[in-house]
C-alpha cells in the first residue's frame, strides 16, 4: 500500500511535467512517422506512388510503345516522356536521377530480329535502391518483350535443321512460326510459364503479401522509447534526493526495498502507457495518415506480456542508473548516450539482419536486442508465447540483475 502511495505521488509529479509528457509520448510518434520512411507516403491516398522514370523515346515505333506500356503495366515505375537533351541537362544539374533512352530504329531492330539496346542513364549519385528497382522492372519487361523474338528465332533455327525432312517445308513456314511465337507471347503476358509468388508465413501477424517499413519500425521504436523511460525514473530519484524529500521518505515506515519498488512502479506504468499510445497510433493513427497500420500480432496478449516485461526491465534499469549516476549530467547526458547507443546496437534503428553479421554476438548482451526480437516475433511474425519464451526469460534476467545491482549500489543517505 505504501509502495502504491509512493508510485501514485510520482505519477502525479510526472503528469504535471508537460515537457516529459511530450518527450515520452509525442517523440516516439514522430519517430514512427518521420524515421520509418513512412513520411513520404503520407497523404498519397490513391495518388500514383510509383517511381517516375523519364523516357526519351527517339524511336516512336510499335515496339517502343509496347516497351513503355509494359513498364507502366509492370508496377512500381511510372513512365513520363522527356526530350533527350533536356533529360541529360537535368541529370547534369542533379535535378534528375535517371532517364531511359530508346534509340531511333529500336522497333525496326526488334521486328527484324536484330539485337536492340535501350540506355538507362543515371546520375552517379542516383539512389541505388530506386535504380535497382527500375533496373529490375526494365529487365523483366525487356525479357518479356524479347520472348516472342526468341521463340521465333528458335523455331526458325529448328526449321533450318529440319530442312530436307519429308513435309518440313509445309510445317516450318515463316507465317506459322510467327503465329506460334505470337500466341505463346500473348499467353505468357497474361500468365507466365514460371511465376514467382511472394507471401508471408501463414502465422504472421500481417496478412499482406507486401511487407512494409512501418511493420518493423513500430516495434523497434517502441523498444527504444520504453528503455528511455529508465532515464525518467533515474531523474525522479535524483530530484527527490536533491530536494531532500528522499530523506523524508526514509524517515517514513517503508522498507528500502519497498521505497525502490515504489520508484520503479511509476516508470513501469509510464512504459505501459507509452506502449499503448505508440500501438494505438500504429494501429489507427497511421491509417488516418493514409499509411498501412500495424497489428498486435496473432496473439495480442503475448505482445502485451512482452511490453510488460520490457517495461519492467526498463524501470529496473532506471534504478540502476539512479544508483550509479551521481550528478544530473550523468543522468541526463551519459545515460542518454548509453540508452541511445544500446538502442542503436540492439537493432532499434539499424535492422538486426545488418547488425548481426557485423557485430557477431555483441547485440545479444544488450536487453534491447531481446526486446526487439520478442516484439518483432509477436507483432510482425505472429508467434506465440512459447516462441518468445527465451527472450522473455533473458529480459526478466536483465531486470533482476539491474534491480539487484541497483539496490546494492544505491546510496540511500
Amino acid at each position: 500500500m505504501k509502495i502504491l502511495s509512493i508510485a501514485w505521488k510520482d505519477l502525479q509529479v510526472l503528469l504535471r511535467d508537460r515537457g516529459a509528457i511530450l518527450e515520452l509520448f509525442l517523440l516516439p510518434l514522430v519517430f514512427v512517422v518521420v524515421y520509418s520512411g513512412a513520411v513520404g507516403a503520407i497523404g498519397q491516398g490513391d495518388k500514383d506512388e510509383r517511381i517516375a522514370l523519364k523516357v526519351a523515346d527517339l524511336d516512336g515505333g510499335a515496339d517502343a510503345q509496347s516497351l513503355l506500356a509494359g513498364i507502366d503495366r509492370a508496377g512500381g515505375v511510372r513512365v513520363e516522356l522527356i526530350a533527350e537533351a533536356e533529360g541529360l541537362a537535368q541529370i547534369d544539374q542533379a535535378k534528375l536521377a535517371r532517364m531511359l533512352v530508346i534509340p531511333q530504329g529500336f522497333s525496326e531492330a526488334v521486328a527484324g530480329g536484330r539485337p536492340a539496346e535501350v540506355r538507362l542513364v543515371s546520375h552517379p549519385n542516383a539512389g541505388p535502391e530506386q535504380s535497382e528497382a527500375v533496373r529490375l522492372v526494365l529487365e523483366g519487361v525487356v525479357s518479356d518483350l524479347s520472348l516472342e523474338a526468341q521463340i521465333l528465332s528458335a523455331l526458325e533455327r529448328m526449321g533450318e535443321m529440319q530442312a530436307g525432312q519429308p513435309g518440313a517445308e509445309e510445317i516450318w513456314t515463316v507465317e506459322r512460326a510467327q503465329a506460334q511465337a505470337r500466341a505463346q507471347f500473348a499467353r505468357a503476358e497474361g500468365e507466365p510459364l514460371v511465376h514467382v509468388a511472394q507471401r508471408v508465413p501463414a502465422q504472421a501477424g500481417t496478412s499482406q503479401v507486401e511487407v512494409g517499413m512501418t511493420d518493423a519500425a513500430v516495434p523497434g521504436f517502441t523498444v527504444l522509447f520504453l528503455f528511455l523511460t529508465a532515464q525518467a525514473a533515474a531523474r525522479s530519484v535524483y530530484e527527490e534526493k536533491k530536494a531532500g524529500s528522499f530523506r523524508r521518505l526514509l524517515a517514513a515506515p517503508v522498507s528500502r526495498m519497498g521505497m525502490l519498488l515504489g520508484k520503479m512502479l511509476p516508470a513501469f506504468v509510464t512504459g505501459l502507457c507509452q506502449a499503448a499510445v505508440i500501438f494505438a497510433f500504429g494501429i489507427w493513427g497511421l491509417r488516418l495518415l493514409g499509411l498501412p497500420g500495424v497489428t498486435l500480432g496473432a496473439h495480442p496478449w503475448v505482445t502485451v506480456l512482452v511490453v510488460a516485461v520490457v517495461a519492467l526491465c526498463s524501470s529496473a534499469l532506471g534504478i540502476l542508473i539512479a544508483a550509479v549516476a551521481h550528478t544530473e549530467n550523468q543522468i541526463g547526458g551519459l545515460s542518454s548516450v548509453i540508452l541511445w547507443g544500446l538502442g542503436t546496437l540492439g537493432g532499434c534503428i539499424i535492422p538486426l539482419f545488418v547488425l548481426e553479421p557485423l557485430l557477431g554476438p555483441v547485440p545479444k548482451v544488450i536487453p534491447h536486442y531481446w526486446a526487439n526480437r520478442a516484439l518483432l516475433d509477436t507483432m510482425v511474425r505472429g508467434l506465440g508465447l512459447a516462441d518468445v519464451g527465451v527472450a522473455l526469460a533473458v529480459l526478466a534476467g536483465f531486470a533482476l540483475l539491474f534491480f539487484a545491482v541497483g539496490v546494492w549500489r544505491f546510496d540511500f543517505e
Binding site: L22, D92, E117, L147, P192, L193, V194, G332, L358
Partner: protein, 419 residues
C-alpha cells in the same frame, strides 16, 4: 568595440560551463559518433564487392525431382549475396522464416519440371519474413531473374513441339527419326539460351552521366551519412543553448547581467557565439573521425566547409535563442528543442535513406526538406563533400542558412524578455 568584448567574455563563460557539462558533451560528441560509426560500419560491410558483404540467410526447398528444379537451386546457390541452406520440407522452411531465423524461403514445387515440359504454368513460392522487409525484397527480385531462363526453355520447347505436332509425317516416323528430332530440339533450345545469354534480343545498358565527377560509392555514402549526422546533432545543441538561456533567466543571473553595464545584445550574441564555436568543434571532430575510420571524402574546398559549418552553427544558435524566447520554462525549451530537432532533422534528410539528399527527392518530401535549415545544411555539405564542388556552388545553401539565422534571431530578440 566594448560590445564585442562583452560578447566574447559571455561566450567564454558559456564555453567554460559547457566544458564542465560532461553529459551534454557526451550527447553532442559521443552519441553522433556511436550512431554514425555503427551505420558506417554496417554500410561498409554491405558495400563490400568481394562477395563477403552482408549475406541474406535464405532457405531453399527443392521438391522437384526433375532437371529444372535443380537448375534453379544451383543458380540460387551461386548468388554471392545469398547464404543458402537447403531444407527438406516447405513446412520446415516456412517455420524457420516465421521464427525470423531466415529472411526468406524459396520453395520449388514438386513437379515443376514436368509442368514446364507440359507447358503448364507453375509457381515458385518465396516466403518472406515480414520482420525484415528490406532483405526480403532482395530475394524476391533475384528469384524473378533466376526463373526467367527456365521459362524461356519451356516456351521454346513447347513452340517446337507445337510446330512438330502439326506434321503428319511425324506421327508415322520411326524411333530413330524421333530421337534425331528430339536431339535437334534440344540443340535448338540450348543454342537459343546461349544466344540469349551472349546477345540478348534487347539489352538494358546502364550508364552513369560522365559529366558528373564523384567519389567512390562507399566514401560518397559516408560523406553523406556523416554530414547528415553532423547537421542533426548541431541542431541538438539547440536544446542546450535554449535551456542555458532559460536557466539564466530562472536562476536570476540574466537579471544581474542586464543590470551590469553590458549591452543586452551582447548577452545574446555572446551566448550564440559560444554555440557557433561548439557547432564548429562538433563538425571538425566528427569529420576527422569519419576521415580516419572510413576514409570519408571531405571534398576539395576547405574554405567552403568552414563557411558552411559556420553558417549552419549560426542558424542552430539563433534557433536556440528563438526557442528560449518563446518557451515558458527551461524544461519546456528543452523538450520543444528536442522534438523540433528530431522532426526537422528527419524532414531535412539528416538520416541518409538513399544516396542523395531529400532536397533532391522531388515531390512533397523535397518541399518539406527545403523548408528546414537541416535540409539546406545537408545539401551544402553534399555539394562540397560528395560532389567535390567549390565554395561558390555551396554558397547559396550557406546563404539560406544565414537567412534562417537572421529570421530566428529577429524573432528571438523581439520576443526575448530580459526581466
Amino acid at each position: 568595440m566594448r560590445a564585442i568584448k562583452h560578447a566574447l567574455a559571455i561566450a567564454w563563460k558559456e564555453l567554460q560551463l559547457l566544458s564542465k557539462d560532461r553529459g551534454g558533451l557526451a550527447v553532442l560528441f559521443l552519441l553522433p559518433l556511436i550512431v554514425a560509426t555503427t551505420m558506417g560500419a554496417a554500410n561498409r560491410a554491405g558495400a563490400r564487392s568481394d562477395g563477403e558483404g552482408i549475406l541474406v540467410n535464405t532457405c531453399l526447398v527443392n521438391q522437384d525431382a526433375g532437371i529444372f528444379g535443380e537448375q534453379i537451386a544451383a543458380a540460387v546457390e551461386s548468388i554471392p549475396v545469398l547464404e543458402v541452406t537447403r531444407v527438406p520440407s516447405a513446412a520446415e522452411a516456412e517455420d524457420i522464416v516465421a521464427r525470423g531465423e531466415a529472411v526468406a524461403a524459396i520453395v520449388i514445387p514438386a513437379g515443376l519440371s514436368d509442368q514446364i515440359h507440359a507447358y503448364t504454368p507453375v509457381q515458385v513460392e518465396v516466403i518472406v519474413d515480414p520482420g525484415q522487409p528490406d532483405a526480403a525484397s532482395i530475394v524476391t527480385g533475384i528469384m524473378n531473374q533466376v526463373v526467367d531462363q527456365v521459362a524461356i526453355w519451356g516456351e521454346v520447347s513447347y513452340g517446337i513441339r507445337a510446330m512438330l505436332s502439326q506434321s503428319e509425317v511425324l506421327a508415322q516416323a520411326e524411333p530413330n527419326t524421333l530421337r534425331a528430332i528430339e536431339a535437334q530440339s534440344l540443340g535448338t533450345i540450348m543454342a537459343t539460351l546461349e544466344q540469349m545469354r551472349r546477345t540478348p534480343a534487347i539489352t538494358v545498358a546502364s550508364e552513369t552521366d560522365e559529366q558528373v565527377v564523384v567519389q567512390g560509392g562507399f566514401e560518397r555514402y559516408m560523406a553523406f551519412g556523416f554530414a547528415g549526422m553532423v547537421v542533426m546533432f548541431i541542431f541538438f545543441g539547440v536544446t542546450t543553448s535554449a535551456r542555458s538561456l532559460r536557466m539564466e533567466k530562472e536562476t536570476g543571473t540574466l537579471r544581474r547581467l542586464v543590470a551590469a553595464p553590458i549591452p543586452r545584445g551582447s548577452v545574446i550574441a555572446g551566448t550564440m557565439l559560444a554555440y557557433v564555436v561548439l557547432g564548429a568543434l562538433q563538425t571538425g571532430f566528427l569529420f576527422l573521425v569519419g576521415r580516419l575510420l572510413f576514409k570519408m571524402s571531405l571534398g576539395n574546398s576547405a574554405i567552403g566547409l568552414l563557411v558552411h559549418t559556420l553558417a549552419l552553427s549560426l542558424a542552430a544558435a539563433a534557433m536556440g535563442v528563438m526557442i528560449a524566447a518563446l518557451a515558458r520554462s527551461a524544461r519546456q525549451a528543452d523538450s520543444v528543442a528536442l522534438i523540433l530537432g528530431f522532426v526537422m532533422g528527419g524532414l531535412g534528410g539528416c538520416i541518409a535513406m538513399g544516396m542523395s539528399p531529400l532536397t533532391r527527392s522531388g515531390g512533397a518530401l523535397q518541399t518539406l526538406a527545403l523548408l528546414t535549415p537541416q535540409g539546406h545544411g545537408v545539401e551544402g555539405f553534399y555539394r562540397l563533400m560528395v560532389e567535390g564542388s567549390s565554395l561558390l556552388r555551396a554558397l547559396p545553401e550557406s546563404a539560406i542558412l544565414v537567412g534562417f539565422a537572421a529570421v530566428f534571431f529577429l524573432v528571438g530578440t523581439w520576443r526575448f524578455k530580459y526581466e
